[in-house]
Amino acid sequence: MNTLKRNILLIPGLAWIFIFLILPCILIISLSFFERGIYGGIDYNFNFENYSRVVEFTYLKILLNSSKIAFLSGFFAVLFGYPAAYFIYKAPAKYQIALLFLVMLPFWSNYLIRTYAWMVLLNNQGLINTILINLNIIKEPLNILYTEFSVIIGLIYNYLPFVILSIYSSVSKLDQNLIEASKDLGGSSIKTFFLVTLPLTLPGVAAGFIFVFVLSIGNFITPDLLGGGKFLMIGNLIYDQFLSARDWPFGASLSFVLISIMLFLLFLQSIFVRKIS
């Protein structure tokens, strides 16, 4: 009886996931095996043509470049996020909630507006260039905006709070006795960090990294705005297939490849976390 009641309570949630997540995925997968019609419709000819297109050099390059950008964003987000999370954890307990609140604060404003703000900061007449020129550090404005670099900055900026939160939750769970034990056994602060603190908080680091990677690789707004449409990421490519090229089957196959990559990474992460704990 009890299990039955519990199962009934599960139905709304499961139904939601099935209708809005599983079903669209099935649709996307099945779509990816058909062809684009002459006028943009779908010809129901079963074939693997779209997948052989995905591995064509042009598209493979976009996929690899997207992975590179997502990887760098994840890497630097972790690099910047770890010290921040550690600092928050080390702060007096009464400030920790306030600091975490500040980390989450940007989410209360619109994603587009925040991205536009970076355009204002980074462009040739922008704040950063103006300051550098006025301080006589540079003579000519730096071309930061509309480069891969500015895209990576935008992605790091957007996802950094998630990284900080996920590392914070790992660090705050760490048994302080282990830190003291390491010091007691002769480990300096630096040794203790690399031999005890870091290995034991890797699950949080991995979760944060995967999070940024997965969200970055599929992102199309930031590359569009901060990259100035000068180069495509896989998210832009999919967006174009569905909305400009009207080649839904090809877009679907690209989406499926992207989803597979994400699922594979999440799978790796879960194995990693299980192995550590």
Binding site: L178, E180, A181, S182, L185, G186, G187, I276
Partner: protein, 344 residues
């Protein structure tokens, strides 16, 4: 020798330690004993270097180590929770401390193997801490400290995480290891039984102060004050009634014996249960009456809870099995040596 002089420590308004002075000989098994919040753990953390005292000095073998960082001190701490590194196996845990020193790999392996032999951890080197039993975890933690050959091993409630039968076994093992290694052990505990069994010397602490430092024997037979008497072992307390001396011969005898120095103030008599006898012999020169309130059966022996005519306060008397059927409210005669009474 470890000399602790004039150590004080406050946390905000709370005074955790108040002018502590102690001398601990090399090779001694020393115990800091007291109720929770008495400051014993703070003192341990000051010796290990995790807290700095507000005042005072820690001198180890004529060397001032008061401000030495924990990782530069020749002391090691056995954590109450063992604090084994969960991501490292037994072997890696034990060699962790040696790898932090400038010691060759061959030497490290030699010492780690030797200590694993001594602490009977052979065959467990590849296990992770999570795959160990409580007793094994403690032995790994112990080995991890001892392999560093510290001048002093500090033990923070080392037996509190073990179940009762394992506790008894580890007690004997700890004592054996300490005698084997001839390392100074300083153990913090709230369990007087542990301290009595293990320690060569015990410092009883209360409210951030040291009340009495003595061998277990002296501590038990001559507790300095009411607190120590109450904390160590079982003690019967009787609020002596001096005005009762006209009607009660026992009270009169006590007053005349000279044990009671000041008959006008409140005198608390203390006597150990095992010092009260129910049959007379030639060493017992004092007799008093008691009324049975309750008989508690302990199997091997019987405990009689009674009200004595000496004054206010319930007393416990050890008796053999034949007293199992003694009636409630019946009166019995108790005998003791008058010098068994302590006055507080």
């Amino acid at each position: 020798m470890l000399r602790i002089s004039n150590i004080s420590k406050s946390f905000g308004v709370v005074k955790a330690l108040n002018n502590i002075n102690l001398e601990i000989d090399n090779g001694e098994f020393f115990s800091l004993l007291g109720p929770s919040g008495c400051g014993k753990t703070t003192l341990l953390r000051i010796i290990s270097g995790f807290e700095l005292p507000d005042n005072g000095e820690i001198i180890l073998n004529e060397q001032n180590i008061t401000n030495t960082k924990p990782y530069n001190r020749p002391t090691n701490l056995l954590f109450q929770s063992y604090a084994l590194f969960p991501h490292l196996n037994v072997m890696q845990n034990i060699s962790y401390g040696l790898q932090r020193e400038k010691i060759s790999k061959i030497e490290i392996d030699k010492r780690v193997n030797a200590i694993m032999e001594k602490t009977s951890l052979n065959g467990l080197q590849d296990r992770k801490p999570i795959e160990l039993s409580g007793g094994q975890m403690q032995r790994v933690a112990l080995a991890r400290c001892l392999v560093k050959e510290p001048k002093i091993l500090l033990l923070d409630e080392p037996l509190s995480a073990l179940d009762k039968s394992l506790k008894e076994k580890m007690k004997i093992e700890l004592k054996k290891i300490q005698k084997d290694f001839k390392t100074t052990f300083i153990m913090v505990t709230h369990d007087q039984d542990e301290a009595l069994v293990l320690a060569d010397k015990i410092a009883v602490m209360d409210n951030g102060e040291i009340i009495q430092v003595d061998t277990p024997k002296i501590l038990y037979s001559s507790p300095k004050n009411y607190f120590v008497a109450n904390f160590i072992g079982k003690m019967n307390f009787i609020e002596f009634n001096a005005s009762n001396n006209e009607t009660n011969t026992a009270n009169k005898k006590l007053l005349n014996s000279g044990i009671i120095k000041d008959k006008n103030s409140k005198n608390i008599l203390g006597i150990r249960p095992e010092d009260i006898y129910l049959t007379i012999n030639e060493t017992l020169n004092f007799e008093f009456e008691a009324e049975i309130i309750h008989v508690a059966y302990h199997g091997q022996e019987v405990e009689l809870i009674a009200k004595s005519d000496l004054g206010f306060g319930e007393i416990s008397i050890k008796a053999d099995k034949s007293f199992h059927n003694v009636e409630k409210n019946s009166k019995i005669s108790c005998f003791c040596n008058i010098n068994s009474f302590k006055i507080y």
